[in-house]
Amino acid sequence: MGKRLFQIFGPLILAAALVLGIFLLPGHLIGYTANKKAQEQAAVSLSPSVLKGAGLKTAALDDGYVPFFGSSEWSRFDPMHPSVMAKKYHRSYQPFLLGSRGTQSLTQFYVMQNIQPQLKNQKAVFVISPQWFVKKGVDKAAFSAYYSQLQTTEWLNQYSNTKMDRYAAQRLMQMPSAKSDHIVYAALERVAKGQQMTPNQKRYLGLRQNFLKSEDNFFSGINLPNGNLKKVDQQEKKLPAQYSFSKINQLATDLGKKETDNNRFQISNSFYNHGLKQEVKHLKGFQENLSYLQSPEYSDFELCLDQFARLHTNVLFIIPPVNQKWADYTGLSQSMLKQFDQKIRYQLQSQGFNNIVDLSDKGDVPYFMTDTIHLGWKGWLAVDQRVDPFLTKKQKTPTYHINDDFYSNQWQQTTTVTN
């Protein structure tokens, strides 16, 4: 009987022992071997696995890449895109694009959790999309798609009992992904209430972090999509060999004109053909009642500000406009957009975040936007005009004074601010 049992269960036991052995080895023993090519790919891949992981990001950020936080705009690669400009003109910084369609402040807060050393006393760029600030805040399914257990455990392993951590725990508990691990969920319940985690929870989180880190080291470099890097290389060729603002500006106008000639909104032809054309007649006036003024997103965004302040990160914030022609057609209220701008600026400036590229009034500049809400040609160039000096020249050290009131429901619901 023993022999037959061994024949049946032997392979299972051996496999289990091997897997456990590998994952329980301390993370640094396996180590992450960063190669330059993988970093270059990862920096523009916009892949959820890069965003959720740790090894690739930290290695690249240690290597001169600068975190560019944002969302879907990063996928609009044209010659003026920050990654293309930085590569073409061999800037001393290279953007590491963090975020993709559906990532919002809450995701970005957790993304910051495993690159804290890389953010400390460093610089970063952050694009704030007005579209995040809808009534319900971040979409639960979108949050799940970018949810990283590794980031959650790393955060819990270093949390301190502050408003920021309590609020982050509360918000995470509202997301279905938090329930994917019941011990983590139980730990979150305690953190949200301002209690210490139990020793067992701490032990578990330590083991879990180790396990996830090994997993990340093994797998994060595998199968990186390289489509975006190809796009960067293609777009780069269109730029003049020597940097010249007037030439690039002219190129932006020319490209914009050529690529938006099949519709009346100055939306890029391919975007327009890709699903918008058929729907456009149903969309007239559909944004009439939309408001970006009341949203839990304001407090989620405060998490990012709070985290930046704690790490003394000097951040350049970019507020993009909405394509004016599109806004007019769909009935999106200009006065509401203006109020949004005031509100978000108040939240930034009153806490000492004064590096703001406010493009919110540029929605009617031709070829500023590549589609309805995303920056393109001229818009990207305007961004470059501010990003380049910010990252290459010495900046004054900012002083932040975080105000916990921005975590309140009252702030989330405020519609008017007086500066």
């Binding site: 009987m1 269960f9 019941h182 890709h274």
Partner: protein, 405 residues
């Protein structure tokens, strides 16, 4: 409190594996401890229906089980007295399926809200209960005992989605211990099934369902506007959905059967290479076997006998065609009260009728219709595509494609 959907993640399997060790050792030495089995079952039922799910599902399960228990036991007492009135039997069956009917109809009449008395696996428990009542009426179950019936209903490896076992078959396994040689073979097979299930469910179904399918759905939605909003992506979606459906469900069934084997219960298999079916009838002998056999034994055959006894139709083919429609219509309805599930059922009824007619025609004209390797492969290819098309209907994706903005 811990809470799982059965077989959802590695943690579940680790806990299950540890819980089964004493049971496996016992069976190896020829001992079956019903006490330990009950404890393990209770623990896993609590993991599935307790904790956060207690108020939404757990209570419903307990009430449901008590209800079916009283009903079945009551009917068995009635039959033991030697009585056998038809209307009592019908009444018992109607009562037994009443909770399931309410659960299935509620979302259709109540704006998509789920019924309060529903819980994961109510369909499969109803199949087991109805089958028991029917066999009590037939007299094939003579010594009905709650000591068998309750473990049979609540057998946790198969509680959420089958396979649908039969009372008498279960009783035979449950009251005996397989000899050591046989049990060792069962362990080997069970472990093999579980690992094949990992491949099916966690690799293949994940690839088709989680990675590929959303992309195809997205491109199909973008390319709407043509004839019936169709595009190549819809075709891709059809095959991808079919692959996902098969690997997900077959993977789950392999887990359920594998774990049953560890517990010394030979739960019947649910799939037998369905993609090699030569015709649609063959397909239903290979796909979700325990369900289609249940429908065959307890709906199809019984209706056919009833119609023949009452001489409702002149020709036997008319009888079977009508019964196909009733049988598959009920199956469609059972999946849920939506146009696409019911259409799916009726589509299969039509396919079965056409298939029967073709086979009769073929038999008559044996000399003129060629039969060779090529026609066999063509039949397999054709059947698989008909099935995939039916799954496209079943998926509800056409509903999304046509009726959402």
């Amino acid at each position: 409190m811990l809470s799982f959907t059965p077989y959802e993640n590695p943690t579940y399997f680790v806990i299950l594996g540890i819980a089964l060790i004493p049971l496996v050792i016992g069976l190896l030495y020829g001992k079956r401890s019903h006490l330990y089995e009950t404890l393990v079952s209770l623990a896993f039922l609590l993991l599935t229906f307790g904790g956060p799910k207690w108020s939404t599902q757990g209570v419903a399960l307990v009430v449901y089980i008590i209800f079916e228990m009283l009903l079945t036991w009551g009917y068995s007492v009635y039959r033991k007295r030697g009585q056998n009135k038809g209307y009592i039997f019908y009444f018992a069956v109607i009562l037994a399926i009443l909770p399931l009917t309410i659960v299935k109809v509620t979302p259709a009449v109540d704006g998509g809200n789920n019924s309060l008395i529903g819980f994961l696996g109510i369909s499969y428990l109803t199949f087991r209960a109805v089958q028991t009542i029917m066999e009590i009426r037939d007299g094939t179950i003579k010594n009905f005992s709650l000591k068998i019936f309750i473990p049979f209903m609540l057998f946790f490896p198969t509680i959420s989605s089958g396979p649908i076992d039969r009372y008498r078959r279960f009783e035979g396994d449950f009251t005996t211990v397989p000899d050591q040689d046989k049990y060792l073979k069962m362990l080997g097979k069970g472990l093999h099934y579980i690992f094949l299930g990992f491949l099916y469910k966690f690799l293949l179904a994940y690839f088709f369902g989680t990675i590929l399918m959303p992309k195809l759905a997205h491109t199909a939605m973008i390319h709407r506007g043509g004839f019936l909003d169709l595009s190549w992506s819809v075709l891709g979606y059809m095959y991808c959905y079919s692959a996902d459906l098969f690997f997900d469900f077959a993977g789950y069934s392999l887990f359920a059967v594998g774990i049953s084997y560890f517990m010394g219960i030979e739960t019947p298999m649910n799939f037998n290479r369905p993609w090699q079916s030569k015709n649609i009838k063959d397909f239903w002998n290979r796909w979700h076997i325990t369900l289609s056999f249940w429908f065959r034994d307890f709906i199809f055959m019984r209706l056919v006998f009833w119609f023949m006894k009452h001489k409702t139709f002149k020709k036997p083919t008319t009888t079977s065609n009508v019964v196909y429609f009733i049988n598959m219509g009920i199956m469609g309805f059972w999946h849920g009260v939506t146009w696409f599930y019911i259409t799916y059922g009726l589509f299969h009824a039509a396919a079965l009728i056409i298939n029967d007619a073709w086979l009769r025609y073929k038999k008559k004209h044996q000399d003129s219709i060629p039969h060779n390797k090529f026609t066999e492969y063509f039949a397999i290819f054709f059947t698989a595509n008909v099935v995939c098309f039916s799954f496209l209907i079943f998926s509800g994706f056409l509903n999304t494609l046509w009726f959402t903005k």
